[in-house]
Symmetry: D2
Subunit: 349 residues, 4 copies
């Protein structure tokens, strides 16, 4: 009953097979291998973006930081949510890769709004050379709190960014889960809304460690390759990244894995919201649930082997009735019997 | 007949097996997985260094740049050969990771000597705050020109470094090939000589992309983990790095693969040096050969399908007798029939 | 009637005299000149800190950024007010000099409190290597909104910082104005409270461009000199910085100038608060006043030649009764007749 | 008898007067003061470059590093002499300001030649993303060894740079001395040859600390102002930089001061070369002399109060006849009686 993270499970057999298939003889490296051509072709097709520039990195932090560094100057600032991964969980990688750009936090929740974004942008870039310049807007989809921006939400945020001439980065660590949740196409969720560069995540959805960085306007990708090499993120045996991504794209495996993850999450959600004293904190349409419940309830679940993060207090000590927040994340590989066991626990507190 | 590089071949079955074996259920990530404990144990044993700090990265550039950034300050300089990988082939990654430290080039060949190193160190760090400070010495073993420093060579270079209080970094992209060439132990080639941090390469010797960074004095590793995360080089599904490295270490696979590569190279070497008009440029004890031969000879080989880099002029146009330089690299996977074909070509120019 | 800034006026004759006096013959440079010894002596005396390390820079941005870079690592964060100069007005200089450290904003006003600081510190440094580490607390005295922390306020903030093992930086661009406002000694306002490094500003209080950076624990100043040189902030003809600072320190000129500025500000304050419809927004004890007043009132003042910044709307267009915020800053040089004219205007709206 | 440096003397009365004259009332800062308009006008006139962008900094290191950072990307390299100030005497400031660009050393002397420059440029930028890209050529005029490139030399170097599409930076710390030595105009020595950005030095030729950075194509100056602010090099009371530079430019004071310095140096040169056992090492046309002479001769001079740098061995101990290298630098302020005394010493060894 492991619901702590979607980066802790195994990869599907298709990915191992793709690696094995690629593991034959000599080939060019550094992205010049034929497999990377296939990847580029598949991604351009998938995004309906025939002239997009496509690059692979092995980690999401690298993908985000390199994408942002390509968009912004060191004297700029990047607008993002205060709980964005780039702000909280990348140990200053964006600042490092951009050469010292700043992050300006937008609003006080995981979801930026046109209003909060406008206020944030207005607060910067208006002091001439004295303050940072407006560099980029970074949107996280699915957000760190498990919410999914609607297409209208994305459009509105991109519109604000464009009205200030600021490019838009989409951190899509859970890109597939969002696409499935919205029932839309990748193009719908990106360039059709105004996104300039999207990180199409693979690691959280079944790969060992591969993310695609997609620039819809190839000109904006200008310095990406040099920055990737300089960051030590260009793989000599790049075929093993390409192979994984190709396996992920072929037959829409990425979509199927995300459907699995989201469907499992819906089952948990249905179970959880039926429990008294449980309050669901986010709109559960992707693969994450945030909820508050009494300490005793969390103790019950975890005592029976459920694994997920609890915040807001000490799980083991304190008033049994006081509320703590739990975070449940489902990945594609979550075994059905674990799911059933967990649902069973919900009914017998 | 592919002899262009040792980062273009496949990985051995043992590595695929190790990945498959590791691909089961949930596990901690970020290096906290049990497999990483095994890796640390195996590396400490192999290096006879029970308190060493051991980290994995996916690329050699990351390994080198992070190791150097951990050793030196931004106002320092790193002493290295003018053809060192960190100088020529990392697109300023060392400068990036150190925050702008300089590289000071030592002598004019691939092999630093105690004299050339002393002169270089004396040329820096003697202008108070005006010039860069002495930060580290970086030794490449095997060198970029295929030479292997003897243990006495290494001792002498480390002694010079130590006499100035400067730590030593060993770029061991071809660490295993050097150990096999010298018939020594990993400890002999590193801390017993005075090396502070060694990059134990895996990628060029049979892995998809894994290098180990080994700090013999754990205190010097102080900031490595934060720098690795900040560089986007900490893998969430770190088990897939650990699994490869574990497979590489178990049963001394790393040593066996290097023995294969070096042995194949010796065969090519024996063939080449028997050819009139061929001049061998390096001491061939590891897996690389640099040689000059008439243009016509290179045309003969390449025309029959041999693949290796030629420099010093246009392969296709020019005086058939003028000399061009070839670089032959053998990896563990080089097929015997390719080898035989190539040796055959040498006899029928 | 210029009240827009305290960095727009002339320097007192004593400073020109000090420059002239220093302008004779050859002398060592780079801070090795005898005048710098005098400066160090005077500052150590003034701060009752006989072993402090003292350095000069020509701008406050350099002083702050270099001080912070000396205290923190690139993977750290600095805690400061959201309106701190280092956040709003230095175009990412702190991020640049620290190599990409982050600024974490504390609370939502110019004054940090023990509570808001504790919350901010607790929000960082608790995610292992994933998030930034706790680097330093930066306190601005006088704050950007013209308020002066009491000695008890400073003690409480430093106590919080120390309880987390985090060093404290004091941005003292208006150090002298604060000391005068509090009627305390420089030591009272710094190391006796727990400040590790203070910027003792000169530029806003009568110098052409000199600030002193004072490390109370010389060991913490370790890398300052190299960072200053690397930043291009070490002056060859350093005597002209030393001469200004010496002139500023001799006979407590710095204290006299600040007394003048603060006294002039009190007169304006007395005039302003007597005006109906004027609301004073800060505790006016130093040399700045923030106030709201109807647009028509601002138009009256500015129409008669008063110069100061107005925010919150268009000065020229809009409802005459709607409130706009004005910022008045007095410097030592403000002519008495300008002051009288302004006070006269207040009485005849 | 001080000949150790041209940054150790006083400033001429005209500069003090300019400061005094500027020291009146309130004025805009940050370069928006009217005096800066005058400076821009005077420099554009002087350079016959009506659309040049002109900025002031207080140190030469800042001027060079900011100019280079504006021209090159972090993954680039800058070509310069191995004894260039940017390589030897700026504590990695160019690396810092460029975000980690590299310096590639050209040839083995102070003077780059078209051949050595071509070889250096050819050695870089030819490894795709693996190596650094070609960023800029930096020429030092007067060189660090006291030589002056002729206009033909400069033309040839710029031609090489342009043929590779690489912009040219001129480090003109001794710009005025070179112009006087060549008897040419500032335009002759810069944009007419192909220089893109010139540092027009003031500090070594009579200012307290001001250098002008002149971009002949204003578009290339794009990010300079933001970089200057971010580096902490934008002065609030900028008028005191403008005043010095205005005083330096009015009535061609800069040219007169350099004529004085060069003329004094010629007298020393005439005296020195008449001495047996003295070998002059450079073409003495500006204000520096490098020469070898027996240790005993140096002891004689220094024992009688002459001050200049000696390298190549211990001045006090060793064979009286063995040769040591001396460096003589004359500045505008060198007193005639000191000059006469020194010349007298040369005649009585």
């Amino acid at each position: 009953m492991f619901f702590a993270s979607d980066n802790s499970g195994p990869v599907p057999q298709e990915i191992l097979d793709a690696l094995t298939e690629a593991n034959t003889g000599y080939t060019f490296g550094y992205g010049a291998e034929p497999l990377m051509e296939e990847v580029q072709h598949l991604i351009r097709d998938m995004f309906e973006a025939p002239s997009a520039s496509v690059y692979l990195t092995a980690t999401g932090t690298a993908a985000n930081a390199l994408a942002l560094a390509t968009l912004v100057d060191p004297f700029d600032t990047v607008f993002c949510s205060p709980v964005a991964h780039i702000e909280e969980d990348e140990c200053n990688a964006p600042e490092f890769y951009t050469g010292g750009a700043k992050l300006t936090l937008v609003g006080d929740s995981d979801r930026m709004t046109p209003d909060s974004l406008t206020r944030a942008i207005e607060s910067q870039g208006n002091r001439g050379v004295h303050g940072p310049q407006r560099g980029a807007v970074s949107i996280t989809q699915v957000t760190e709190m498990g919410n999914v921006y609607t297409l209208a939400d994305l459009q509105a945020l991109c519109d604000v960014a464009k009205s200030y001439g600021v490019p838009v980065h989409l951190d899509g660590a859970r890109f597939a889960n969002a696409v499935v949740a919205l029932g839309c196409s990748p193009a719908d969720m990106t360039w059709k809304r105004g996104v300039d560069v999207a990180v199409f995540g693979g690691t959280k959805n079944g790969l060992m460690g591969v993310e695609a960085v997609v620039f819809f306007d190839a000109e904006q990708a200008d310095t990406f390759e040099l920055r990737r090499k300089r960051g030590g993120h260009l793989f000599s045996k790049h075929r093993y990244l390409s192979a994984q991504m190709a396996g992920y794209l072929r037959n829409d495996l990425w979509h199927r894995l995300a459907r699995q993850a989201n469907a499992k999450c819906q089952k948990v959600y249905d179970g959880l919201r039926a429990v008294d004293d449980v309050t669901i904190l986010n709109d559960v349409t992707a693969n994450m649930i945030f909820f508050t419940a009494p300490r005793a309830f969390h103790q019950h679940l975890q005592g029976h082997g459920a694994r997920y993060y609890v915040t807001g207090g000490d799980l083991d000590n304190g008033d049994p009735q006081s509320g703590l927040t739990g975070r449940i994340v489902c990945d594609w590989s979550c075994p059905d019997d674990a799911l059933d066991s967990f649902l069973g626990l919900l009914k017998t507190p």
